[in-house]
Subunit: 336 residues, 4 copies
């Protein structure tokens, strides 16, 4: 960590500051320039508060040099994390495709879609029971009834299931769910993250709408630091000025995460763009860029879907996309 | 709402779609162009799901013409909402200044700051007990002990208090709190918003990091639609590419909210920029642009503040800012 | 185009407006709703000025339904454009790799790099003679001397050359250049675009730092409308809040452009990220997403490169990337 | 400037690097940490190329500590720059209002608007002769004929005139123009900036659509370093995700520029939002935040304006805004 001192900073105050930092076990290196003097802090700065330093009279600015995350950091954990979901694994050459409807609407729909996506080669089943909706007037999900239908589809197909949690109070209801999803809007719901750190289930952590990769890894760090090592990251597009797509898929996030962290990362091309015809090209790009999996929305009747119909593939469209996916996963030398 | 049909859309499918929309009580207007045919929907489209429409075979795109919010909409509620907090009011010419430390650290600190800000003219007291921190290793707040200290400061000064909630499970703890704050990271924690709609306390709803004004009003709509009319909006800067300031204060949000909605809006110049020397000019700008209040961080010892020290004013700095604030609120013909 | 009328708009003024629009040959469709009345305009609205309409007393807002570009629009030109560069072609299944140094520094460097990239399979040679630099104190390029060295390398290797133009006054100097590049910062230098519309050389039009896909196509439209059909688009990353990469590569732009337009599109992974180790994964992703080519920076001694050294590959690194590129272009069924 | 070394960097290569930097006259400070070793560079780093450093084998990352601008930097020029325009001055307590039509359309329009804005208190006259338009089919300005009409209005009213330049080839045509405006889209047209550095006329430099404050000051630096000290900065809104306003006015840019630089800064509330009813509140906010002037679009018949009608005030609306402006400029203790 680098502290940039103000010009003409009072030397006594500077001594007080560096004394306090030394007392915390940090090494101190001065570097006096023509116009700027900087102080380098050496040691474990993970717990040093930048804002507190900035408040000091003599401090002009503070720059962090090392990443503030440890448990999620590849530097300290060079080996890829392999997350197990039932008898499947994700990461380190194992590629998984999660598919299913945005929201669970009926037994018939859920079973039909589950069987169709299994047939096409999906390896995990998704379905939304609790739905985060921008409008209070929009369909909010079947909630506990939806969870029951999802678990029914799990029994019918043998596919492990993924579904989104919206409150730490619902954790008990998720006992038979295989992967708990944290949605983009809850990526910094720290109360929820703390609770999820206490369970051992795999957590699918979506990137927030406008969160940096570092903030995303810090949210993963909450779960890891809590004692749960099973975190799967999911890139789902970020908010930019472009309006042709609902969000902008940050494809670079895949190799960047692979370098900074040991955690597996998958891509959700459905939410990233909000448009069905973009799912296939973006799925291809994600595989080529090194993703460990995909999450794709499929609906048997998208035009009557109670949410996000515009981005859901029909089963026959999904089947075609899966043909491409399998060919390309094999090309990359990965296993599904 | 406007539906743009695909070129060469099957007329039978178009008839099915328009038939279904008519059955929902909506009027239908065709407009056939050279390259594009559009269908206008007339009636209450608040509950029409754009994404569901987009999933239809014959639909190219959908554009919403009316705002999707009703209870928060000035069109249907032309009169300004005036929110009462204890014996104070906010909105419609009543201006309030909320001040206090980012996080509550000790009895001594809380009482000292509370008395100082009261002395300088602050009309509400803030203090963070539950703190949303990006890092799990950062100070997370004194939690329930912090709440006790805040209520002690309320009794000592007579100032109503504002503090942030991080979980719907904490609502009982907030019984004696005057205004419940929803932080930027929880603006779309819909489970929390639903619970807050069931209480009657004033809610200070901060704008999310990268949320549009319309999404913000939709979050207010969750609270209003739940039965709680006491919502105060708080602009606190949005995320952009600029790096000189922590966030970019969206000053236009003030007049835009005033036009779209009847709810009061205040500005938080401390979080908007993350820098003390920007608090005063941005506070002045906010008053001139029509804000109904300010929220300013004050700390008696910012360099030892356990969070956000870099943006906290010292009591003597706050006192100087308040001199300017009072002069300008009077210039605008408003009352504090 | 849709005009949304103000509530209680004076019917006489509305009649005047619609009369004026009819006089321009446009058809008019009314659609009167409960809270909103809209007017649909039917016909060629390319030349209708939205802002002029918005200034009208009775108009609340205006929404464009059809795209404002014609010559670049796939709707009117369904067949892919194939741009010829010397004896090579780009688009419609023909894939090209443009490689070379960010800036031309010496004869030795230029010839060495040119021979190396040719050896590895690059099909066009790039090199910057006029350099757009943020700082006036940074190296501004060898200018006309640089152009000479580039043409020397062209003769030595037989590779067609691509280089950036920074002023319409330099057009004469570019007589022997094969492809003229318009940099991101000049994407909306309309005076330059007009001049380029008058020549017949292929133009490589980079996307602006923060320009929408529609604005980008409108800039292409300037060149096409001027009479030059040879436009190649180049996605090079957009500006977002993320700081791990210099820009955010908008991978979705490839399929979106392919759908909206008939023009070929290539990707520049070097500028998109500013980091060498990201060039390979992003090149792979671009090929998978359907790009027609790549532009990659290569330097024989990046640590002494006079600009953008941080993102330049060494010839041996480029050779390895090209191995992957060739394998993947073949996998996609395209020809190099 | 701080160089962060790679872990396990070869000490011989590090020595070579630091030797080369010392040879450039820079001082070197090592700071070896547990996980990271950094090298501080002391001296004038304005001409050190960060990207070149990043390309070095042993370098992980580079962080600039001092600002890369010198001539525009308040640290080296503590006193405010006061720019003279005819017998008027801008900066250091002198406030100017530039008003007039977006584009010049006819003698009658230009003279009428000029007299009206003078009457209301505008102190400089603007009018666009060369217009940067997104679409090649939109009105491109009256060009040289427009310039003639503008100069006619200057003679008729005595107001100095401001107009936009779009090519360095037009400089001769601007001989009688008082202030030359560089539009947002040309902020990084470096060829144009270099030419403007060679003349002595005041330059109004608009901030680019998505340019950082530092890049903006670097563009000013091009003009200043060329020998022209007369630069006026103009904030006109930046591109964000928000869609209620055309751009987001970055109000913080005013105090930030005042701290970083000695140059005067004005605000263009018309282009910042694209909406007439936002001009007044944003003009008020700009004055309160410390702006040195305003630039406001006025048109005698906005609904027939050939461009940007939607954001132009009518003369009577402008007159009302000016009432507020005068009252507030006086309140701030500035002179018009």
């Amino acid at each position: 960590m680098i502290i940039i001192l103000k010009r003409n900073a009072d030397p006594k105050k500077v001594d007080l500051l560096t004394g306090a930092l030394k007392a915390k076990g940090l090494g101190i290196h001065y570097s006096e320039g023509l116009n700027t003097t900087i102080v380098g802090l050496v040691g474990d700065t993970t717990r040093v508060d930048e804002d507190q330093l900035r408040a000091n009279d003599v401090v002009e600015d503070v720059r962090r040099i090392s990443e503030p995350f440890k448990a999620a950091n590849r530097k300290f954990h060079p080996k890829d994390t392999l997350v197990s979901v039932g008898d499947r694994q994700i990461g380190e050459g194992f590629f998984q495709v999660i598919a299913g409807p945005c929201s669970i609407e009926s037994e018939e729909q859920m079973i039909q879609v589950a069987q169709a996506v299994k047939q096409s080669g999906a390896t995990l089943l998704r379905g939304g029971a609790f739905k985060p909706r921008t409008s209070p007037y929009a369909f909010q999900g079947l909630e506990t009834d939806g969870l029951k239908l999802l678990l029914q589809a799990k029994r019918a197909t043998g596919l492990p299931v993924v579904t989104e949690i919206m409150s730490e109070n619902h954790l008990d209801l998720f006992a038979d769910v295989d992967v708990i999803q944290v949605g983009a809007r809850n990526m910094q719901n720290f109360q929820l993250l703390k609770e999820l750190g206490r369970c051992k289930k795999p957590i699918l952590l979506k990137r927030g709408l406008a969160n940096t990769i570092q903030e995303w890894l810090m949210s993963a760090e909450y779960i890891l630091a809590g004692g749960n090592p099973n975190v799967i990251l999911c890139e789902r597009g970020i908010r930019t000025f472009e309006t042709q797509t609902r969000n902008t898929l940050d494809i670079s996030a895949i190799p960047v995460i692979k370098r900074l962290s040991h955690l597996p990362i998958i891509v959700d091309p459905s939410h990233a763009t909000g448009t069905t015809w973009l799912v296939e090209p973006l799925a291809k790009a994600a595989i080529a860029a090194g993703a460990d999996g995909l999450m794709i929305e499929v609906h048997n009747n998208p035009k009557e879907a109670l949410c996000d119909g515009g981005q859901s593939l029909r089963p026959e469209e999904f089947d075609q996309v899966m043909g491409e996916v399998k060919r390309r996963v094999a090309f990359e030398g990965k296993r599904m």
